[in-house]
């Protein structure tokens, strides 16, 4: 019994526009959604720029109660899940609820809300001993990352396996990858998978300031996220989320669903090297790519496009370039590889799922999104990064890779339905 995994629906909440059409227009236009931080006053911080979502939850159908009960990142998930399910033409009420699951990732969960209430209960950090009385209702839902998958599962009526995954910045790839394995191995037939984060708050900005991981190009935020470019100086923090509907292939065919792609390959490894540092050689990411290809039963030279982690830190882009060359060999030089973080920033755990939606759209439309802001070649990053302009290209198989704090290295292979 060989169960295959189909991607039948996509939904996205991203900087620059909510929903798939706006997202795809931004990417294919090569526009950037990075700007000065407006979600709080960033005065006094080293990095004062971010890729923010202009998000009005009420306009996207959430009730006052849903808005009150759920932190911003969970609201992203509810809205993206609605879009993905509608896109898939799936009626969750007609599915066997015990065969339907949810797998969602987040790197930092409810930090923003936790910080907000911390300020209330500690009198702005005055006391170690806190006064619980000013805390707002539903704080326990921000404290518990499981709220993410739980809220979506309640919305769609899933009774099958429901999990929240938190592997730093590979959370999105891993949550979707785990879901694919669960379908392949028979634990569910339909899984709503993806990831969300809304980390743009003082504590998160300060913690990346402290290790100089983020860009300080505060006077030019639109051009601050510069993956692979020689002048890159760190990532630009983002927020958002994306959800895909994964289905067992025959299940999708039986209900006549449009199949965007097959998710045939997934692998993840640890680098056991450093919580934030990366090696020069990228051996572990390369191992993840090799195993994901083997899982998909594809040779390296079948890959037509690499969706890069491309965070725009000095070490990441070098590490990743080395890993892709190690796995794809000479084919790496012929293969376009771009980073959409140049346009939508780095939304930590969410970005892997957002990038999988970009990959699905790239396969579907035969268009490779560019790396915006790429102008100057770095000798250590010597691949084709699709500078500034989207490229039309028939695509059969695409690879998306990710790298996260904690040493996580993940890879996912998606194939166009007809090529699968």
């Amino acid at each position: 019994m060989n169960r295959r995994v189909a991607v039948t629906g996509i939904g996205v909440v991203a900087p620059g526009g909510i929903g798939v059409p706006q997202f795809w227009a931004l990417l294919t236009d090569g526009r950037t959604a990075t700007r000065g931080i407006t979600l709080f006053d960033p005065d006094g911080f080293r990095s004062r720029i971010a890729a923010e979502c202009d998000f009005d939850p009420a306009a996207h159908g959430l009730t006052a109660d849903q808005i009150a009960r759920n932190d911003r990142y969970v609201q992203f998930a509810l809205v993206a899940a609605d879009e993905a399910i509608a896109d898939a033409g799936l009626d969750p009420g007609r599915e066997d609820p015990w065969r339907m699951g949810v797998s969602l990732g987040t790197a930092v969960g409810g930090t923003t809300r936790l910080e907000h209430d911390y300020v209330l209960v500690s009198s702005r950090g005055e006391h170690w001993g806190v006064d619980h009385r000013p805390a707002e209702p539903h704080l326990e839902r921000a404290f518990t990352p499981a709220t993410l998958a739980s809220a979506v599962a309640e919305r769609i009526g899933a009774h099958g396996p429901v999990q929240t995954v938190s592997t730093g910045c590979t959370s999105g790839l891993d949550a979707v990858g785990y879901a694919a394995l669960a379908i392949e191995e028979g634990r569910a037939d339909v899984i709503v998978a993806g990831a969300c984060d809304s980390p743009i708050s003082p504590i998160t900005v300060a913690c990346f300031d402290a290790i100089k991981a983020t860009s300080a190009r505060n006077d030019d935020p639109e051009h601050a996220s510069r993956p692979f470019d020689k002048s890159r100086d760190g990532f630009v923090l983002g927020e958002g989320g994306a959800v895909v509907v994964l289905e067992e292939w025959e299940h999708a065919e039986r209900r006549g669903a449009r199949i965007y792609a097959e998710l045939g390959g997934f692998a993840t490894f640890g680098n056991a090297y450093h919580m934030t540092g990366l090696t020069q050689e990228g051996v572990e990411m390369s191992e993840a790519i090799d195993r994901a290809l083997a899982h998909a039963r594809l040779p390296g030279d079948a890959i037509d496009y690499v969706n890069a982690h491309g965070s725009g830190t000095k070490q990441n882009d070098r590490h990743e370039t080395a890993a892709v060359k190690r796995s794809l060999g000479a084919h790496a030089r012929r293969t376009p590889m771009s980073s959409i973080k140049s346009m939508v920033g780095h939304s930590l755990g969410a970005i892997g799922a957002i990038e999988l939606v970009a990959c699905t759209l790239a396969l579907h439309h035969g268009v490779v999104p560019p790396t915006a802001n790429y102008t100057e070649r770095d000798p250590e990053c010597d691949l084709d990064y699709v500078p500034r302009t989207a490229r039309e290209l028939p695509l059969r198989h695409v690879l998306s890779v990710g790298s996260g704090f904690g040493g996580f290295q993940s890879a996912v292979v998606l194939s166009r339905a007809e090529a699968a």
Binding site: W98, G109, F143, H159, F269, A272
Partner: protein, 407 residues
Amino acid sequence: MSPTRSAVITGVGVISPHGIGADDYWKALGEGRSALSRIDREGCENLPLKIAGLVRGFDAEEYVEPRYLVQTDRFTHFAMAAAELAMSDADLTSHPDDPFQVAVVTAAGSGGGEFGQRELQHLWAEGPHHVGPYQSIAWFYAASTGQISIRGGFKGPCGVVASDEAGGLDALAHAARAVGRGTDTVLAGAAEAPIAPYSMVCQLGYPGLSTADDPDRAYRPFGSDAVGFVPAEGGAMFVVEDAESARRRGARTRARIAGHTATFTGAARWAESREGLAHAVRGALAEAHCAPDEIDVVFADALGVPEADRAEALALADALGDHAERVPVTAPKAGFGRAHCGAPALDVAAAVLALEQGLIPPTPHTEDCPYGLDLVIGHPRPAELRTALVLSRGQMGSNTALVLRRA
């Protein structure tokens, strides 16, 4: 689980309110002792929550090197110490010949609360430049997996389940499945440290939290006088291994992870959890090729909320039939509390030890059980044990069942 590769537990590491290490833990369980006490942590004095299961006498420096200590929260100290104990128990060494064959999987439901609160205080009282360089890696849920993997040189398919309490069992299943797909060894489990002042504030909204101020009365699961559950800290890590590789290296096999199923029935919908838990038990039994009457002992979720306790008893009746009236059910966690994902991990440790020792530890505090279960109370019960069923439910709606077989 995999039809060809079977996952066994070869090492157990425990950090619990009952003490450090599996021996102290088992001794306390066997005596039916309780470790619940008044919360005496600085900054918690004025909270309307008085009783918890606190880990006392834990010297992090004994298990964690200074360079890791400064980078990590107490929850990671617990996880690293428990991993160290489990590795030593399994005779597993760091830096394996093939690093990609050893992975780390933890469940984490509360993160690095104490560390995070300290850095939040630095930020809000002193300014952004006072936030330290380790906040980015100490607070987040992936901290323990990352640090254990780095310290041991373990590069396998590492993961983090940030689910609710039941995630503690899901992490073990995740590990067993990785073994099924070809990874030889996975360090898996969960440890949590949510008894810092602000973390406590964040938990006050949990329905069912016991605010009683008498350690003997605060958590009496299945009792007619149950008033809720108490929070706690601690957890357990395990060495989960391919049975064949364990045999090849001469490791002692402690128990086999035979079956698992997770379901979801909605946050704090305890009545609905009956169906979810029954479904999970049936699924786990099917995966384990186990008939209901083969279950020799049940380690219950035992929330201590009457509606939830009743739902759990009914779920057992639904899934096990008549056997539910006969099978001994126990909840040693009544004596050490519910440390998020750490609590079911500690239950698994108790189940492994019970299978080995042929002894069912009792449920402390509880004096009666009006739900038609054979609840083990008062004294431990000697029994021939081959198969244990471990149950867990989470505040956010998960229900999980795990079947363990004696090696």
